[in-house]
């Protein structure tokens, strides 16, 4: 590594970013080599994958070109749940140095594992994402993503360390303190969910703190969808540039794809994550430029390789080369999904999880409705549950207790606060066929 490539002060080029600029041919060669290795690794170490390969008369040798990837079976979220906790691990536990978990589609979590090398790759791609925004050694990065089993906090944290930035691991919550740190510490970049940043801006306004006057110049927002309109608004209000970062824990966590300073699509770190776009109905691959479901194959993951993982996120590959010079292909920002999952404060929620929680308390499933609102810039989830004769009591405290137990049951599964309202019977609208379980008023 040439010493002058190290971006000690004035920005520029981080050595980890070299693969961003590989000539296309070289990139495809790296991808094919890694694809063959990861298929071989998964075939030899993951029973489920091997069985699916054998059912199709495939062996690792069936992969001779990148196009051959279409022969391989898909992996879906239910596979992680069905093999919970470690059925998709491809290395012995002794080689695992980290485990993360996220909630599955029902109450049962899904677990993801990392070897030491996997953590290094994750740190590298996240460092490359931060470098995409023009951040470098010496920048102070305030990480307000939640730390814990959620991959957002620790993923960004390790990426920033690899970059050589100073991390303020503030985690989520305590908005006043967040604002104080932004104001007093010369923070250059803030990482959080876009809705939390909107909340911070409102609070700053109440406290008379002008973020524009602070040193903050970059916002790194992810873990939930947000619009360009929102980008323009927060950029204007905070005097920053706001960037999108994409990832999912099944693949690695944050750092699968990232915008660059062009702010036009997210570069996929495709030397480690091979992207395809498929028709979500037929499963057929679609050419670049066409909209469909994003499918990702991890090219270098050891602990838990994912072959053709169906993300359920709808996007399209942008065929043109980016003006920033990176040869990595870009995808459009995610605006919707092919299932009923919604994201609130960075947490993925399936209505089926809420159902499981209500069922656990009441024994039968009451009529309910999930209402998403945004108040003071902060997303809120309200679950309305119709009171049944079984749970009704004339004592306020007894009703309050039912309400609290329902709320706790949901909070335990989702890991976020919910507002639970008991409503009168038959007040939640019934519709023919599929009930409208989720009402999203956040963008009203």
């Amino acid at each position: 590594m040439h010493k002058e490539l190290w971006n000690d002060a004035a920005g520029g080029f981080h050595p980890a970013s070299a693969p961003d600029y590989l000539p296309e041919q070289a990139l495809r060669e790296v991808q094919l080599r890694r694809l063959r290795a990861v298929v071989d690794h998964a075939y030899n170490n993951v029973a489920l994958f091997r069985a699916r390969m054998e059912a199709r008369d495939l062996t690792p040798d069936s992969i001779q070109s990148l196009a051959d990837i279409a022969k391989l079976p898909f992996t879906v979220k239910a596979d992680l749940r069905d093999t919970y906790p470690s059925g998709l691990f491809a290395v012995p536990m002794g080689d695992v140095v980290r485990l993360h978990a996220s909630s599955g589609t029902t109450g049962k979590p899904i677990v993801v594992a990392y070897t030491r090398e996997d953590i290094q790759v994750w740190s590298e791609v996240m460092a490359r994402a931060l470098a995409c925004y023009g951040l470098h050694r010496g920048d102070i990065l305030q990480n307000a993503f939640g730390y814990g089993l959620f991959t957002g906090g620790l993923g960004v944290h390790y990426g920033a360390e690899t970059l050589g930035a100073t991390v303020v691991p503030i985690s989520g919550g305590n908005t006043d303190r967040q604002l104080m740190v932004i104001r007093d510490f010369g923070v250059s970049a803030l990482c959080c969910t876009p809705s939390y940043f909107a909340h911070m801006l409102e609070r700053a306004d109440e406290l008379g703190i002008d973020i524009r006057a602070s040193s903050l110049r970059v916002g790194v927002f992810g873990a939930e969808p947000w619009s360009n309109a929102m980008r323009h608004r927060v950029e204007e209000l905070a005097g920053i540039r706001a960037y999108d970062v994409y990832g999912l824990s099944e693949i690695v966590g944050p750092g699968v794809a990232s915008e660059c300073t062009e702010q036009h699509g997210l570069h996929l770190f495709e030397d480690h994550f091979y992207p395809e776009i498929i028709d979500p109905e037929t499963g057929e691959p679609l050419p670049d430029g066409e909209e469909g479901e994003l499918v990702i194959t991890t090219l270098s993951k050891r602990a838990m390789p994912m072959i053709r993982y169906r993300t359920r996120d709808i996007t399209a590959i942008i065929p043109e080369r980016c003006a920033c010079g990176r040869t990595l292909r870009r995808m459009r920002r995610i605006e919707r999904r092919s299932d009923d999952m919604f994201i609130i404060r960075g947490v993925n929620v399936f209505p089926s999880q809420v159902e499981a929680a209500l069922l656990a308390v009441e024994g039968t499933l009451p009529h309910y409705q999930i209402i998403l609102t945004r108040s003071g810039g902060l997303d809120q989830i309200t679950v309305e549950v119709e009171v049944t004769a079984e749970v009704f009591s004339d004592k306020v405290r007894a009703l309050e207790d039912v309400r609290a137990r329902l709320a706790q049951s949901i909070e335990r599964i989702l890991g976020i606060r919910v507002i639970l309202r008991l409503v009168e019977p038959r007040t939640i609208e019934r519709s023919q066929g599929k009930a409208k379980r989720v009402i999203d008023r956040r963008h009203d």
């Binding site: 536990m93 814990g148 620790l154 050589g164 303190r177 010369g186």
Partner: protein, 445 residues
């Protein structure tokens, strides 16, 4: 613990053999050399430069370890007065991490780490983790909070350093913690001692015998606890419980930790000099007598502190331990010389509660903080006297008031407190210094 540990031979149970079993005279020689270098380094920090100049002290003044006593003390107030990061001894761009600790007011004090400091911290934690059973093949569940104000990171990196697997569950969502324990079978649990008991309680509620949970070793810290609690944790969870000590001002966890003999915590003397002083006279107490711990950093790069007054009361023991480590040991922390409370691992000063109340218009300065541990978790009730200015005949407004006060307390002090509105003049008035805290927990043997 058996000597036939399958995954690591017993003689390797000391992580850093050369550092932890150094002969006394070599430890002291190393300390002297590092102390001299440190005095030179901190002379860049305006706070120390002024004091050194005033007292005409320089590196040459340190001829023996006894000369440490010529150096000035550093207090929490000094840190607060030089916020943010007035104690920085390296350029800002060399910082890799910033952490904080709560101050006596709503303004926290911040401490910083260079990349080298983070490596040192990992090493310190690796040492006590290994002394307490952690092996490279193990999985450890870290149920400590991660964030600006916690030492959870030190342990996380320490486990990585050893090569074991981390499950970073962080604190909270106890039932999920138990699910994960049962599915991923960690050998080691890391959390506050009271949270360990909460986990045992929650397991029983789920119909699970906590002793059947897979953990064999537990590392507990972040709040004071007792030998009774250790026995309870060990009995209930069926594991061996280890105590460790540290504070973020001087690094975080890793200042000292227990070996399997559980006869005090080994102080990592190649990185810290720990004195035990009479808090009134500031003279050293006799060996084995309780006194205030005063700690000097020997290797910290970013924010090194000289003679930091911890306000923690403990005892020091110099006789060598049968485990083979040659380092000095310290007892549990048995008290404080100030009114700081530790609640669920968070340091809280009554003055912070007062500040929170001041932010809510119309509240009185008459309040009482009641701390209790009804089950296994600390609970705080702040009793606030009702006044006409804040009374409303509407229930929703009254509840909103309680929530408002509670939110301000959370913001300033970082803890969740129950707010009880009480009738005027129902809180006892004191002549002279008011008694603000009623601590009903039993925190010492």
């Amino acid at each position: 613990m058996s000597n036939q540990d399958p995954d690591w031979p017993s003689e390797n149970r000391i992580w850093n053999h050369s550092a932890e079993t150094l002969p006394r005279e070599e430890i002291e020689a190393l300390q002297l050399e590092r102390l001299r270098a440190m005095v030179e380094r901190v002379a860049k920090v305006p706070f120390y430069r002024d004091q050194f100049e005033h007292a005409e002290i320089g590196p040459q003044s340190i001829r023996s370890l006894a000369d440490l006593r010529r150096l000035p003390f550093t207090t929490k107030d000094d840190l607060r007065r030089h916020q943010p990061l007035g104690f920085l001894a390296v350029p800002r761009k060399e910082l890799a991490r910033i952490h904080g600790s709560s101050g006596t007011t709503g303004i926290p004090t911040f401490v910083a780490y260079t990349a080298q400091d983070l490596r040192t911290w990992s090493e310190l934690c690796a040492r006590f983790l290994v002394a307490g059973g952690l092996r490279p093949a193990h999985t450890a569940q870290v149920a400590f909070g991660y964030g600006l104000f916690t030492g959870g990171f030190g342990l996380h990196y320490g486990i990585e350093r050893v090569g074991a697997a981390v499950i970073p569950t962080a604190a909270g969502n106890t039932r999920r913690q138990i699910d994960i324990m049962r599915e991923l079978t960690p050998e080691v649990l890391i959390c506050t001692p009271s949270y360990a008991l909460t986990i045992a309680d929650a397991a029983r509620e789920l119909g699970i015998d906590p002793a059947t949970l897979p953990m064999r070793y537990g590392h507990f810290g972040g709040e004071p606890w007792t030998e009774d609690m250790r026995r309870e944790i060990e009995d209930q969870l069926g594991l061996q419980a280890f105590n460790n000590y540290g504070l973020s001002e001087v690094f975080g966890p890793g200042v000292a930790g227990e070996c399997p003999l559980h006869e005090g915590m080994h102080i990592q003397e190649d990185h810290f000099i720990v004195e035990c002083l009479d808090p009134e006279t500031l003279e050293p107490v006799a060996e084995g007598e309780p006194g205030e711990l005063v700690i000097t950093n020997l290797t910290r790069e970013a924010t090194p502190l000289i003679r930091y007054r911890t306000r923690d009361i403990a005892r020091l023991y110099r006789e060598p331990c049968a485990c083979g480590r040659t380092t000095m040991r310290m007892s549990r922390v048995t008290g404080r010389t100030d009114d700081m409370l530790i609640i669920r691992g968070v340091n809280v000063f009554p003055s912070q509660i007062e500040e929170a109340l001041l932010r809510v218009e119309g509240t009185t300065p008459h309040y009482l903080i009641e701390v209790d541990r009804p089950g296994t978790l600390d609970e705080v009730r702040v009793k606030v006297e009702m006044r006409p200015e804040i009374f409303s005949d509407r229930m929703d407004r009254m509840q909103a008031l309680c929530e408002h006060i509670s939110r301000e307390i959370q913001t300033v002090a970082g803890i969740r407190a129950h707010v009880d509105l009480v009738e005027p003049r129902s809180i006892e008035r004191f002549v002279g210094k008011a008694r603000r805290v009623l601590d009903k927990r039993r925190l010492s043997d």
